[in-house]
């Protein structure tokens, strides 16, 4: 979330799309209700099904699963056409005025400039700004990158840098300025085209577009709209670009950085934000530092590659906060390797793995299926159920040598070897050794959890672990200590990173999470003095925040964005003060929010260029002329002493200093603007460019298990998957209270489709995709209607994910014991590698 849960109560307008917070985030949804109750805020719900969120909405639009970019692009077009844009914001706080390189081409035919059909990748060198002089005029192009003679295997082709001074046109008239390109790009997304693609009737789309953009009616800047989404947006083969479209819309409307605004991802697990922050995915280190790749022969090369330099109009200023990257990296290496990390040995940079390929979720399972991944340690997740293509995952596990599962219930993953359909003979031939470790539940652990609002909240264990269960971190620690012992005894090819890893916990076998959090916060390794304030931090003291980090090895910090969470004043995440003097729901002293306890990111943008709040009734930060400093009820997300006259951009994490309507160079794999593509399995061809229906850079998986249905394969119904408020993933099927609320799996089917198939509610039906089938009772509902998509009558169905073959009902033989994700295809978004769980093709029949 750019903002936070409580902040939703400050909004005037909510677009909830790709998410169903009333059901999946019921406690957070109270703030949406508060906004309606206290501010008369309006709520637009856009979803393939009429959900319990839609039940509280002022307007509901039923959208075809996977056509979100067309809908949002249509609203951008509507906002521009009807002048419901935030002009001053757009010019000063976004790259709308920047001039894009000659040779850049918009995807009228479905392809941006630079596409190589052989490799299915883009040469992104034209996705850049022109170099300009101080007045913005374009000057001769900057130097091309040095020709890479021999790239190591797995190394990406280097790209030219961003120009230090960009060409720009503050009148937004230059034909190649970002705003004109944006206008051109979405001028194709007319209400008629939106109707053809999304299935939302034109008049209803116009109602939604008018309602959402009404906050900028007549140039008013006081009102604010928010966009709220969840995995209904991420789980597509262009999921990142859907979120990008929302971000562009919010920048065009001037809604980012403001109380009641922003682009707000609702995270599905209590600590999934924390998992991402801590580098839970393969291509980032903790704190969103890019992983090294094989071209990074030493620390200096790596830091040069990943540290951006400012790129902005000459007269403007850009804080370019990522210019501090070397401090974050070196402090992290010091935290990993302690005294072993010295300036002379590049702080052990070469002990860290250099990532030469994709190690994302679907790829891991694919590699296991192909036999190159031999074992899996699975903690806190149920890989077989999560999918996609559960059957492929089961087959993959059959080929593995070992599987370790740390769980609190027997789950489908640890019992893959007796999934339905496996015969006794077959079972004998499964050679995988399965180790089941009894872990601890959330109430049995202390520690911090990071919520969607980026708050780290400390919690205490409520009950001890039962029996011989152990805390997850103890198990991981004990495995690590055993591995280290083996390295110490037997040596090995590369023992240093393991043998010399810092492990200075008071109990090595049971590292207390308090000590881990302190380690993440970071400490001084030498006496440090701030030259400006003369404040001194003594060696060994906890750091007050990331501003203190150094790149010379005198600080250690496990995750720079968490620096400030456990200072000399103690555990900031355990704070529980309920004071809110601003009445904006900031609660500065409740828990601790990264970065630097800021509650709303980019909050400088809540003020006009002169530093005055756009809306005086929602004052977050402001320029204090007398004190020559930024002040606020929130921590200013800005250089504290930057005078508005200097025109420093509010988006300090971008080298441009402004919000990116155009995502240059390597920002995205599939285009600097989002473009509508069809899901990999679709009933219709792309109405914008029939010859390029799908996202061109998305690659299909190639094992014999990976099958994808075309429009003519007989799979004639669109299927989407979702979660119910009554259950939590694959977990609560073990809890009687949840089970009685929704006891059985079901499939939501439109009344009209049911009539066509001759089925009634509660009849057993079979849903088949090209991969597998799923049987459950029919929930015949008016909440999904047939749609007209590009002149074709189309049905959608929805299936909740929650059941499997282990659980109260499953064990009692009371349901079909199948996993929904047997239906879903292994296909992933090219930027975030999230599988396309929404909008695949099936056929439906009566059992």
């Amino acid at each position: 979330m750019t903002n936070g849960w409580i902040d939703i109560r400050n909004t005037d307008m909510m677009l909830i799309m790709g998410g169903n917070p009333a059901e999946n985030h019921p406690c957070g949804f109270k703030w949406a209700i508060e906004a309606k109750r206290n501010r008369n805020a309006k709520l637009i719900s856009v979803d393939p099904r009429f959900t319990r969120t839609s039940a509280t909405a002022d307007l509901f639009c039923q959208i075809r699963a996977g056509s979100d970019i067309a809908f949002l692009g249509g609203i951008i077009n509507y906002a521009i056409q009807n002048n419901r844009i935030a002009h001053d914001y757009l010019v000063n706080y976004t790259n709308a005025a920047f001039i894009v390189k000659e040779g850049f081409k918009l995807p009228e035919d479905g392809l941006y400039s630079g596409f190589d059909p052989q490799t299915q990748t883009y040469d992104r060198s034209t996705w850049n700004y022109e170099e300009g002089n101080d007045s913005g005029a374009v000057v001769a192009g900057h130097a091309a990158p040095p020709p890479a003679t021999s790239l190591p295997p797995g190394a990406p082709k280097p790209l030219p840098p961003l120009p230090g001074k960009v060409g720009y046109d503050l009148t937004l008239q230059h034909p190649r300025c970002v705003f004109q390109l944006l206008k051109q790009q979405y001028s194709r997304y007319t209400p008629e085209v939106v109707e053809r693609i999304t299935g939302i009737p034109k008049d209803q789309f116009l109602k939604a577009a008018d309602m959402f953009t009404s906050v900028r009616k007549d140039g008013d800047m006081k009102k604010v709209a928010t966009v709220i989404y969840a995995v209904g947006w991420t789980q597509h083969s262009y999921g990142t670009q859907i979120i990008r479209t929302a971000a562009i819309l919010q920048l065009v409307m001037g809604n980012v950085g403001r109380a009641g605004g922003g682009v707000n991802a609702l995270r599905g697990h209590s600590n999934i934000q924390g998992a991402t922050d801590m580098g839970g995915v393969f291509d980032i280190w903790p704190g969103y530092l890019k992983v090294p790749n094989p071209t990074d022969s030493d620390l200096a090369t790596y830091l040069k590659r990943i540290t951006p330099t400012a790129s902005k109009p000459g007269p403007w200023d850009s804080f370019n906060y990522w210019s501090n990257t070397p401090k974050f990296v070196v402090s992290q290496l010091k935290s990993f390797f302690g005294d072993a990390a010295t300036k002379e040995n590049d702080f052990c940079f070469n002990w860290m793995p250099k990532v030469d390929r994709n190690y994302s979720w679907a790829q891991i399972w694919d590699n296991m299926y192909r036999g190159s991944v031999k074992g899996l340690l699975a903690f806190g997740m149920n890989g077989v159920c999560i999918g996609p293509d559960s059957q492929k995952n089961i087959e993959a596990l059959k080929k593995a040598d070992f599987l370790v599962v740390g769980e609190i219930y027997p789950d489908e993953t640890s019992e893959f070897w007796r999934s339905p359909g496996i015969t006794a003979d077959e079972m004998k031939n499964i050679k995988t050794t399965v180790y089941r470790l009894a872990c601890a539940g959330f109430a049995e652990k202390d520690g911090s959890m990071t919520n969607s609002a980026r708050w780290l909240q400390w919690k205490y264990a409520a009950v001890p672990t039962p029996g011989e269960c152990r805390l997850d971190q103890d198990i991981v620690a004990q495995i690590f200590l055993k591995v280290r012992e083996l390295y110490q005894k037997e040596g090995g090819k590369f023992p240093d990173p393991i043998v010399k890893l810092t492990w200075a916990y008071s109990d090595a076998k049971r590292p207390p999470l308090a000590e881990l959090l302190k380690e993440l916060n970071g400490k001084a390794l030498a006496d440090l003095t701030d030259p400006k304030t003369q404040v001194t931090i003594k060696k060994g003291q906890q750091l007050p925040g990331f501003a203190w980090l150094k790149d010379d090895g005198t600080t250690a910090c496990g995750n720079w964005i968490y620096s400030g969470c456990w200072t000399e004043a103690g555990n900031q995440t355990a704070r529980r003060e309920t004071g809110d003097p601003s009445n904006l729901g900031v609660y500065q002293n409740w828990a601790w929010s990264w970065p630097a306890n800021r509650r709303v990111l980019y909050n400088r943008a809540s003020c006009d260029p002169s530093g005055k709040p756009w809306d005086p009734s929602r004052k977050q930060v402001w320029w204090n002329e007398g004190a020559q400093t930024w002040a606020g009820v929130d921590v200013p997300d800005f250089k504290p002493d930057s005078d508005p006259k200097d025109h420093m951009g509010p988006f300090i994490m971008n080298p441009e200093g402004v919000g990116r309507i155009f995502g240059p160079l390597a920002a995205f794999a599939d285009g600097p603007f989002p473009e509508h593509y069809e899901p990999i399995e679709s009933l219709v061809v792309n109405a914008l460019h029939p010859n390029q229906s799908n996202n061109p850079v998305v690659k299909k998986f190639k094992t014999d298990a990976d099958k994808y249905a075309g429009p003519n394969d007989g799979y004639n119904v669109i299927c989407t998957t979702y979660r119910l408020t009554e259950h939590y993933h694959y977990w609560t099927k073990n809890n009687p209270m949840n089970v009685q609320l929704i006891p059985e799996p079901f499939i939501e089917v439109p009344v009209e489709l049911a009539q066509e198939l001759g089925i009634k509610g509660n009849d057993k039906i079979k849903v088949t995709s090209i991969r597998s089938y799923y049987i459950a009772k029919a929930f015949v509902t008016k909440r999904i209607k047939p749609m007209m998509v590009d002149g074709k009558k189309v049905y959608q169905i929805g299936i909740p994910i929650h059941q499997g073959y282990r659980g109260i009902q499953e064990d009692a033989g009371r349901d079909a014991r199948t996993i929904l994700n047997r239906l879903t295809p292994t296909i992933v978004d090219p930027n975030a590698y999230t599988p396309e769980f929404k909008g695949f093709l099936v056929k439906v029949e009566k059992v």
Binding site: A22, E23, P26, C27, F29, K30, I33, E34, K36, R37, N40, F50, T51, R52, T53, S54, A55, T56, D58, F60, L724, T725, E726, P736, M737, V739, Q740, L741, I742, P743, E744, F746, G761, N762, K777, A778, F779, V780, T781, K782, R783
Partner: protein, 306 residues
């Protein structure tokens, strides 16, 4: 275990709250009018209910009930109706409005705690149903004879029979919590704040202000408050998007009344019965004075032995 606890809770509440009326009890209620208390009420704003069922679970957990086997029945609704050990149920209805737009109506169903409770009126067992001065209508299972007459008195189909203990059960408005100054468990669990609890006066004000907001700002011209006068008003009031069509909300009766049979039986019929009894006594008395006591004549057919 759950049930014995329930009975205990009944005693507890008796000790802490003043009783206003007692079923089947001659004379005034003990302690009546001694203690003045404000009327409590629960406000359910169906327009902000998200059907999460937290209230269902909270109700079970507070009252000590556990797992009931349920079955999917073409709905998100947990079961068709409340049961003797499931007092709080959200009723779901996919309602199509006249303009063709769809509503998913979700209404929390439970005892309405009527000001003029039909169950209490119908109950013949002394002390089985009480109404406290704060308006809570509570079943006292230790006095319940399991006759089920309360069912016929209730226009909302709330009292339910437990075949094992042969007693009637229903929502107590968490009388055990309310009597020590806590809100009912359902209120505490509600995540969106669609449930409120307080004095009837405050709740009515809040409900009316919300209905007004819905009419003026959200286009629900028929929004209003459900607090039916046919049962003297209720201790549970609803804000509805369309107060003219309460039936759409899982069968909320439009104009609930205590059935005339119950009224007649406990009113005129009872009076006639009493009168008949009185005449009987008078007749016996007159007979006594006129003819004197009945004389017992010794029998002689067994040799004079009795």
């Amino acid at each position: 275990m759950a049930r014995s606890w329930q009975l205990k809770a009944g005693f507890m509440s008796e000790a802490t709250l003043a009783i206003k009326k007692i079923s089947g009890h001659p004379g005034p209620a003990p302690g009546a009018n001694v203690e003045r208390d404000y009327q409590v009420a629960k406000l359910i704003d169906t327009t902000t209910c998200i059907g999460c069922k937290a209230c269902e679970v909270a109700c079970l957990e507070w009252n000590g009930y556990t797992f009931t086997e349920t079955f999917f029945d073409n709905s998100y609704q947990t079961m068709p109706a409340t049961t003797w050990n499931y007092w709080n149920l959200i009723k779901f209805n996919e309602h199509e409005r006249e303009d063709g737009t769809l509503q998913l109506l979700m209404r929390k169903d439970q005892c309405m705690h009527c000001a003029d409770p039909g169950c209490l009126a119908a109950c013949p067992a002394d002390g089985a149903i009480v109404q406290y001065t704060n308006g809570i209508v509570d079943f006292q299972q230790q006095n319940c004879i399991g006759c089920g007459y309360c069912v016929s008195g209730c226009p909302f189909d709330i009292p339910k029979f437990d075949p094992t203990t042969k007693k009637m059960f229903k929502c107590t408005l968490c009388v055990d919590r309310v009597s020590v100054g806590l809100e009912p468990a359902c209120i505490k669990s509600c995540p969106t704040g669609c449930l409120h609890f307080g004095s009837k006066e405050d709740m009515s004000y809040l409900a009316e202000s919300r209905a007004k907001q819905l009419r003026e700002n959200f286009g629900f011209e028929k929004a209003g408050v459900y607090d039916p006068s046919g049962v003297g008003g209720t201790g549970v009031i609803y804000v509805l998007h369309d107060v003219t069509n309460p039936e759409a909300y899982g069968g909320l009766p439009k104009d609930p009344h205590i059935p005339w049979v119950v009224r007649f039986w406990k009113g005129p019929a009872k009076w006639i019965g009493n009168l008949a009894m009185l005449f009987g006594v008078i007749g016996v008395t007159i007979h006594y004075f006129r003819y004197g006591p009945k004389e017992i004549h010794p029998r002689h057919d067994n040799g004079g032995k009795l």
